[in-house]
């Protein structure tokens, strides 16, 4: 099974990289760009064949390694 994890900084955590990207977009002439926030996408190829098992596994991976839950939140897509 394939899984995709999106890791983003939690709301309220300042994202200096996102701000720099927003600034650069403005420099390039893109108008109307509000806040920009930058995150990570992690793709996983799993041996698990059922959705629930895969999701439970990936959730544990996120809690233990893939995200730092002090500052980051994550979303999991399965399939």
């Amino acid at each position: 099974m394939k899984a995709r994890v999106h890791v983003m900084l939690k709301d309220g955590v300042l994202d200096p990289q996102g701000q720099a990207v927003a600034h650069a977009l403005g420099t390039l002439g893109f108008q109307g760009v509000g806040e920009v926030r930058q995150g990570k996408v992690i793709d996983l190829d799993l041996a698990a064949t059922d959705r629930a098992t895969a999701e439970a596994q990936v959730r544990e991976m996120c809690e233990k390694l893939l995200a730092n839950t002090v500052i980051e939140r994550y979303d999991i897509e399965i399939g």
């Binding site: 955590v13 300042l14 200096p16 990289q17 720099a20 233990k64 390694l65 893939l66 730092n68 002090v70 500052i71």
Partner: protein, 222 residues
């Protein structure tokens, strides 16, 4: 007094840290990250600066899940001492031994220069060689030293006197100018500045030497 210095792939301040411990009188063993136990009788574990595992995923994240780090977590749970410098501080927050997190510098630049710090507390084995409020100069060299903690945590760290060092002129956006913090039992210190790089006259400054002297002295008596 026995010190162990961890070595991860990408550590680059491990030898400097070992020299600083040795010059202060400690017996030092280097410990490879794949080992799953610390040498017997270790009093303090040094987690050095560098770029463990290439800073992949997040700074310190992979090192924090290494076999040796499990042994360090158990060591601190037993009341053992640990000192994490720069990447070592990042490893300590990633393990949860120290609270908060270290993010990309607010200015987005790698900052490498001597900075002035205020010693916020002399009440720890690490800082007993200084006086509270003393101003010292120690080099920093990091890209991800922006200490992040919510208001409750900052208030708690301050109330419990666990902010060990603050920056006089904040170089990285750290909340409340925090440069280093202590664990609840005051036996674990994490800091971004490099005291081992200001520990002998040839370094251009010796303000970091007192940290190693007081730590080794306190543990030799214990």
């Amino acid at each position: 007094m026995k010190a162990a210095v961890l070595v991860f792939p990408g550590s680059n301040c491990d030898r400097d840290l070992a020299v600083a411990f040795r010059n202060a009188g400690a017996e030092v063993t280097m410990v490879w990250h794949k080992d799953d136990a610390l040498p017997a009788g270790v009093d303090v574990v040094g987690i050095p600066g560098g770029f463990s595992f290439g800073d992949y995923l997040r700074c310190g994240a992979i090192a924090a899940r290494s076999p040796i780090t499990r042994a360090v977590i158990e060591h601190t749970h037993r009341g053992g001492y640990a000192l994490g410098i720069c990447n070592g501080f990042q490893v300590l927050t990633e393990t949860g031994i120290l609270p908060g997190a270290l993010m990309r510098n607010a200015g987005l630049k790698f900052v490498c220069k001597p900075v002035d710090l205020t010693v916020e507390t002399a009440d720890s084995a690490f800082t007993a060689g200084y006086t509270g409020g003393q101003r010292i100069t120690i080099p920093i060299a990091h890209h991800d030293g922006n200490y992040v903690a919510d208001a409750d945590l900052v208030a708690r760290l301050r109330a419990e006197g666990r902010v060990a060092f603050t920056y006089c002129d904040n170089p990285n956006g750290s909340v409340a100018d925090i440069a280093g913090i202590l664990s609840e039992n005051r036996r674990v210190l994490g800091l971004m500045p490099h005291p081992e790089r200001a520990a002998e006259p040839a370094h251009g400054g010796t303000d970091g030497a007192a940290l190693f002297r007081s730590l080794v002295g306190a543990l030799a008596l214990a």
